[in-house]
């Protein structure tokens, strides 16, 4: 399975490498800014997280100097962020290997990414840390205090939305908007800027909603395993509202893309791909979570299979996603 996934990634890289380089070449500065931001955020979060851990655990009671603790924190923060920090250069290297005659642009990108990572990480490390407060959002869906309790599964379908709002609180959203605002070219009109930022927020919302559904499927299945809840009732309750929202907001995003000047066929194709991804993720996540089996590898293989099929023949991704999803649902329903 892993070999098949690697082979698919290489095949996809070969196909898209020249296109990717053509798109990236005029925006080297923007790429470097994004990489610096990523490094800065990772370094800052890493420092904050590991400082909190090392100031509260049993090691804090030992006579260890502050300098030694700081070194350990730096090392742990670096090791935890290393896979994400290594991702951009790895992608550039892969693309460079798959696109002959691109050594100049590849070297420029690699140098820029290296410098941006170093500068970003240093900035992030020395940014003053603020106190973090993790508070759940307000309670829009809760019954009025003292209301009677009636057996119903509606809370399961709203759980995903609550999780999404928990992750997308205004403070997090503001941080996510920052890179998009920085990437807007000078001289962009206010209307266009608002439309582009709306599209960005919508994209982030759809991604987070999908991620939240995977999380809720896992947590909900674990919590309800000792009950007699059947798979179909579980899956319907968890997925109904998020899937409807996905469809609703994907349509809106498609309309927005068209309004921004994207060709309707291209916009429809993007929507088709996204809905295929949503479909396969939902089916695999719900089915595997209900069977208390791991999700990630199966999901990766399913998405790769969709990519390969789509490469041979267009418009196969969505039917393929629906078949994979149905297969996982059937498997889970049998247990």
């Amino acid at each position: 399975m892993i070999a098949a996934a690697v082979a698919t990634v290489i095949a996809l890289a070969r196909q898209f490498a020249p296109v990717l380089l053509r798109v990236v070449a005029p925006h080297l500065l923007a790429v470097n800014v994004l990489v610096a931001l990523q490094a800065s955020v990772l370094a800052h979060w890493g420092r904050r997280k590991w400082t909190a851990i090392y100031s509260g655990n049993w090691l804090s009671t030992l006579p260890v100097s502050r300098r030694q603790t700081a070194r350990v924190i730096a090392l742990r923060a670096f090791l935890a962020s290393a896979p994400l920090l290594a991702l951009p250069p790895a992608v550039v290297l892969l693309v460079g290997l798959c696109a002959p005659g691109s050594s100049a642009i590849t070297s420029a990108l690699l140098t820029g990414i290296g410098i941006a990572t170093a500068v970003g990480a240093l900035l992030g490390w020395y940014l003053p840390a603020r106190e973090v407060r993790h508070s759940p959002p307000a309670l829009p869906y809760a019954a009025a205090p003292g209301a009677s309790a009636v057996p119903r599964l509606v809370a399961l379908s709203r759980w995903t939305e609550t999780q999404t709002r928990m992750w997308l609180q205004p403070r997090s959203l503001a941080r996510l908007l920052l890179p998009a605002m920085l990437l807007l070219p000078m001289g962009t009109s206010a209307n266009l800027a608002i439309a582009l930022l709306s599209l960005w927020v919508l994209t982030v919302y759809l991604l987070v909603l999908l991620r939240a559904m995977v999380q809720v499927a896992r947590e909900g299945a674990a919590w309800l395993r000792p009950t007699s809840l059947t798979f179909y009732r579980f899956a319907w309750s968890v997925a109904r509202r998020p899937l409807f929202k996905q469809l609703q907001w994907t349509l809106l995003a498609t309309a927005l893309l068209v309004a921004l000047g994207c060709r309707p066929l291209v916009a429809a194709r993007v929507a088709e791909w996204w809905l295929a991804l949503v479909s396969v993720t939902s089916g695999v996540a719900l089915g595997r979570a209900y069977q208390s089996k791991p999700v990630r590898l199966r999901l990766l293989v399913s998405v790769c299979a969709m990519g390969v099929l789509e490469r041979f023949r267009q418009h196969l991704a969505l039917p393929c996603a629906l078949v994979i999803s149905a297969w996982h649902i059937r498997e889970a329903a049998r247990t």
């Binding site: 759940p136 309670l139 809760a142 019954a143 009025a144 205090p145 003292g146 209301a147 309790a149 009636v150 057996p151 119903r152 599964l153 509606v154 809370a155 399961l156 759980w159 609550t162 999780q163 928990m166 947590e219 909900g220 674990a222 919590w223 309800l224 395993r225 000792p226 009950t227 007699s228 809840l229 059947t230 009732r233 208390s292 247990t335």
Partner: protein, 246 residues
Amino acid sequence: MTEPVLAVRNLTVRYGAKRVLTGVDLSLMRGDWFFLLGPNGSGKTTLLRCVSGQIVPAAGAVNIGGLSILEAPHSAKRLLGYAHPPEGLPGLLTGRQCLEVYAAAHDLPDIGSGILELAAQLRLTAALDQWVASYSLGTRQKLCILLALIGNPALVVLDEAFNGLDPASALILKRELQQRVAERRCAVLLATHALESVLRHATRAGLLLDGALTRAWDAQELDALRTGDPGALEAALAEAARECAA
């Protein structure tokens, strides 16, 4: 002869190459309150998770009310009330939503006034409309036990359920369980380290050592321990552990 509420036969569980439970046999009737004792890591939680259908055993059978938890899980789980560990509760639901979802998952027509009354006695009513994420450990424990009692299940499975509870709440819950057991409405399987509770409430008890039920006490033996030396159970446990090690 009546069907046992819980029948565990020759249960073996492995985590990879490690054998966690070995040939465990256990049978509970309505009216039994079985205290499962044993040191940390002896397999108590694994046994309870197996009974509640969360772990598939390597060998053996678990029947609830005569229904196999592996072959007819949905029917068997209708008779089961399992108290999750507090960290397993969904933080982004309110207590009331948890009750609603659990009752619906068990296909119950209503939650039952008894559960809401019990929540009121435990001073949980106000907390029911707050996120579970904002609950203290004790409040979560109360909710976990309430969830396990929804629908008057024939088998109630509790894992260290009174940890973190204030004495008054623990007393209320123990009385509730005692009443259900005395009226033969259910059997209770409780894993615990609290020996004083064994002497006060247990109708039967068993010691799990290294994944095997090495010693069991029936009602007469427990009565004898109650009337005799208060440290006798502790001594008996130590003795059983020594025998097992030898």
